[in-house]
C-alpha cells in the first residue's frame, strides 16, 4: 500500500515542480537502475514486437524464479551456492521423464521409460525430488561455510551434470529428451506461447509471494542474523543448522519448480542446459540485482535476459560470437558493479 501512495506522491510532486524532483533523484542509483532496466525492456519489446516480447518474457520468468530461489540462500542466509543449476536439472529431468510419451526405440538412441503423465501430475514430483535431494545434500553441506561452501556446491553441480549425462537409460544422456508435454487443464492445453507465458507469470507471482512471506517472517529475520554472525545467533538459542537446512530445501524446491517449467516450455532438454556456467550466470544475476532483495532478483533477471537477447541485434556482430560476447559483457558488468556498487542495483547488503 505504501508503495502505491509513495508513487502517487512522487507523481504529484513531479507535477508541481519537475526541477526539484530531478534534483532529488539525480543521485538515486536505485531509482535509475529501475528506470533504465525497465525502460530498456519496454522499448526493446515494443521495437521487436509481440513474438519477441513473449519469448523474452518466458525466459525472464524462468530466470526470475531461479534468481529469487537462489537469493533466499545467498542473499538472506549468506550461503554462496553455485550448485543451484543441479536442482533446476533435477526438476527438469523429473518432469521430462514422467511426462514423456514418445518412444525412443530408434537405432543408436537410448530407450527410456515413458510414463506419459500429464504435466501437472509430474510437477509436484519435480518439486519434491529436488527437495529430497537438497535435504540429503544439505545435511552434508551444513558443515561448511563461506569459500568451502562454494567449493562443495560446485562439486554438487558437477555431479548433477555428470549424472544427467551418464544415466543414459533414464535421461538418454547427450541425446536429450524430446517432446516433453505441455501443461493441460482438462481439455485446455497451454500450447500457445502466450498462454504459457501467462502460466509462467502466475508461477513467478506465486514464488515471489512465498519468498516475500518467508523473508518477512521471524524465520527470515533469523536467516539474516545467521548470515551476519552464525555463532552469535546460536548463543541466543537458535539451532542454525536447522534454519540453513530449511531454507536450502525450500530454495531447491523452487528451483525444481523452475526446472519443470523450463522442460515443459522448451519441450526439449539435454545436459548442456545444466552446466556449471549456467549456475555461475545465475549467481551473477542475483548479485547484479542485489543480494537480500526480491525485487533485485527480478530486476537482475530482466537485465540479464535483455542483455542476452539484446546482443542478437547489435550490428556488425557475427552471430557465432554472440554467446561468448554476452558472457564477456556480463563479466565486465560484474567487475564494475563490485567496484562501484557492491550491493548490486537495488540491494542493501554487501558480500
Amino acid at each position: 500500500m505504501s508503495i502505491v501512495t509513495g508513487a502517487l506522491r512522487n507523481v504529484r510532486d513531479v507535477a508541481r515542480d519537475p526541477r526539484s524532483w530531478w534534483q532529488r533523484s539525480k543521485g538515486n542509483i536505485e531509482l535509475w537502475a529501475n528506470l533504465i532496466v525497465l525502460g530498456w525492456a519496454l522499448v526493446f519489446m515494443l521495437w521487436r514486437g509481440g513474438g519477441f516480447a513473449i519469448t523474452v518474457g518466458s525466459v525472464f520468468a524462468i530466470w526470475a524464479i531461479l534468481a529469487v530461489s537462489l537469493n533466499l540462500v545467498v542473499g538472506y542466509a549468506g550461503l554462496l551456492s553455485v550448485g543451484h543449476i543441479g536442482f533446476l536439472g533435477i526438476g527438469a529431468y523429473t518432469t521430462a521423464v514422467l511426462t514423456s510419451h514418445a518412444s525412443y526405440e530408434q537405432l543408436r538412441t537410448e530407450a527410456i521409460p515413458t510414463f506419459g503423465w500429464p504435466f501437472f501430475a509430474a510437477l509436484p514430483f519435480s518439486v519434491l525430488l529436488a527437495g529430497v535431494v537438497a535435504l540429503v545434500v544439505g545435511v552434508a553441506f551444513n558443515r561448511f561455510r563461506d569459500d568451502i561452501y562454494v567449493l562443495v556446491s560446485f562439486g554438487f553441480a558437477v555431479i548433477a551434470f555428470t549424472t544427467f549425462l551418464s544415466w543414459r537409460n533414464l535421461t538418454r544422456g547427450a541425446f536429450g529428451i524430446h517432446e516433453i508435454a505441455r501443461p493441460a487443464i482438462g481439455p485446455w492445453v497451454f500450447d500457445g506461447e502466450l498462454e504459457f507465458l501467462a502460466l509462467l507469470l502466475v508461477f513467478l507471482g506465486l514464488v515471489v509471494l512465498i519468498a516475500w512471506l518467508i523473508v518477512t517472517s521471524s524465520f527470515g529475520r533469523v536467516l539474516t542474523a545467521i548470515r551476519e554472525d552464525e555463532q552469535a545467533i546460536q548463543v541466543f538459542g537458535y539451532r542454525t543448522t536447522h534454519y540453513k537446512l530449511a531454507i536450502w530445501v525450500i530454495s531447491a524446491m523452487i528451483a525444481g519448480l523452475a526446472g519443470a517449467l523450463l522442460a515443459s516450455w522448451s519441450t526439449f532438454i539435454d545436459p548442456n542446459s545444466f552446466v556449471l556456467l549456467e549456475s555461475v550466470l545465475l549467481v551473477s544475476i542475483v548479485i547484479l540485482g542485489g543480494l537480500a532483495s526480491i525485487w533485485g532478483s527480478l530486476l537482475g533477471a530482466l537485465a540479464f535476459v535483455m542483455l542476452e537477447e539484446g546482443m542478437r541485434f547489435v550490428p556488425f556482430l557475427p552471430s557465432e560470437f554472440i554467446g561468448q560476447i554476452r558472457q564477456v559483457i556480463l563479466g565486465i558488468l560484474l567487475v564494475l558493479l563490485m567496484l562501484f556498487r557492491p550491493q548490486g542495483l537495488v540491494g542493501r547488503f554487501k558480500l
Binding site: 518467508i214 518477512t216 517472517s217 521471524s218 524465520f219 529475520r221 533469523v222 539474516t224 542474523a225 548470515r227 551476519e228 554472525d229 555463532q231 552469535a232 545467533i233 546460536q234 548463543v235 541466543f236 538459542g237 537458535y238 539451532r239 542454525t240 536447522h242 534454519y243 530449511a246 542493501r348 547488503f349 554487501k350
Partner: protein, 251 residues
C-alpha cells in the same frame, strides 16, 4: 549484601573445567561458584582466561574436561544453542551485532520463535514489538531503530549488544568487558543498567579492568591468573591480598 536469598545458593558452578589451545592451558582445572542474584566480577591480567571462561560457559567453545553445573544440573557438554535453556546469555568482548540488519531487527531476532516451522509462520507479534520497544527505549536507542547496526558508534553498539542480552529473559547474564572503551556518560548508563538488573534479581557476571567500577559494583570477585583461580571473595578483602597485588595490580 541486601539480598533476601540465602547467599550460599549457587546459580552457576564450574568443577575442574579445562581448556587448552595447543600447548597453552587457557583454563586449568578451574572450580568457581557463582552466587544467585549477585553481581559477580571476574578480573585478571590479559590472557588469564576470562573470555575463555565466558566462552566455555556459553557453549561457544567445547570443554576439554570438567563439568559446568547450572541450577544443580551437571553438564559435560554445553551447546551454544542450548545456553538460553540453561538460563544463560552473554555479550562479546569484541561487539558482535548483526551488522547489516537494522537496530530494531537486532533486538527482535532474539525475542521471536526458536523452532523452525513455527518461525516460518510467525509475523511480528505485538508482544514482541512491545518488548523490543521497551528494550530499545531503556538503552536509549529507540530513535536509532531503523539504522543499520553497522552505522552506529562504538558506544551505541556496545549498548545495543547489552540491550540484546537484556531482551533474553534468563537468570544469568555474562558480560564480557561491558565498560571497555566507553565515554563517561555511557559508562554511567551501563552501570545503572547492571544495577537495575540486580534489582530485578538477575545473576550477573562481568569482566572488567576498571578497578573503580569493580569496587563500586561487585558483590563478589574472582581473580584469575593463567587459567587458575587466584582469589575469590569480598571485593575489598580480595583486592587487599598480596598475591592479587603481585599478580595483577602490582605491575
Amino acid at each position: 549484601m541486601s539480598t533476601q536469598v540465602d547467599p550460599r545458593v549457587y546459580v552457576l558452578e564450574t568443577r575442574e573445567i579445562s581448556k587448552s589451545f595447543g600447548a597453552v592451558k587457557a583454563i586449568d582445572q578451574l572450580t568457581i561458584s557463582i552466587l544467585r542474584e549477585w553481581l559477580t566480577c571476574i578480573v585478571g591480567p590479559n590472557g588469564s582466561g576470562k573470555s575463555t571462561l565466558i566462552n566455555l560457559l556459553s557453549g561457544l567453545l567445547p570443554l576439554d574436561g570438567g563439568i559446568v553445573v547450572v541450577d544443580n544440573v551437571g553438564l559435560r557438554v554445553v551447546k551454544a544453542h542450548a545456553s538460553p535453556d540453561h538460563g544463560i546469555t552473554r555479550t562479546f568482548q569484541e561487539v558482535r551485532l548483526f551488522d547489516q540488519i537494522s537496530v530494531w531487527d537486532n533486538i527482535m531476532v532474539v525475542l521471536t520463535e526458536r523452532r523452525v516451522f513455527p518461525a516460518l509462520l510467525e509475523r511480528a507479534k505485538p508482544s514482541h514489538r512491545d518488548e523490543a520497544e521497551r528494550i530499545l527505549k531503556s538503552v536509549g536507542m529507540w530513535e536509532k531503530r531503523d539504522a543499520m547496526a553497522q552505522d552506529l558508534s562504538y558506544g551505541q553498539r556496545k549498548l545495543l549488544e547489552i540491550g540484546r542480552a537484556m531482551a533474553m529473559d534468563v537468570q544469568i547474564y555474562l558480560f564480557d568487558e561491558p565498560f571497555a572503551g566507553l565515554f563517561p556518560r555511557m559508562l554511567e548508563q551501563v552501570k545503572s543498567i547492571l544495577k537495575d538488573m540486580r534489582e530485578q534479581k538477575r545473576s550477573i557476571v562481568f569482566v572488567s579492568h576498571n578497578m573503580d567500577i569493580v569496587r563500586e559494583l561487585s558483590d563478589h570477585l574472582f581473580v584469575l591468573d593463567s587459567g587458575t583461580l587466584l582469589a575469590a571473595g569480598e571485593v575489598e578483602e580480595v583486592l587487599a591480598r598480596s598475591t592479587v597485588i603481585d599478580a595483577y595490580l602490582g605491575h
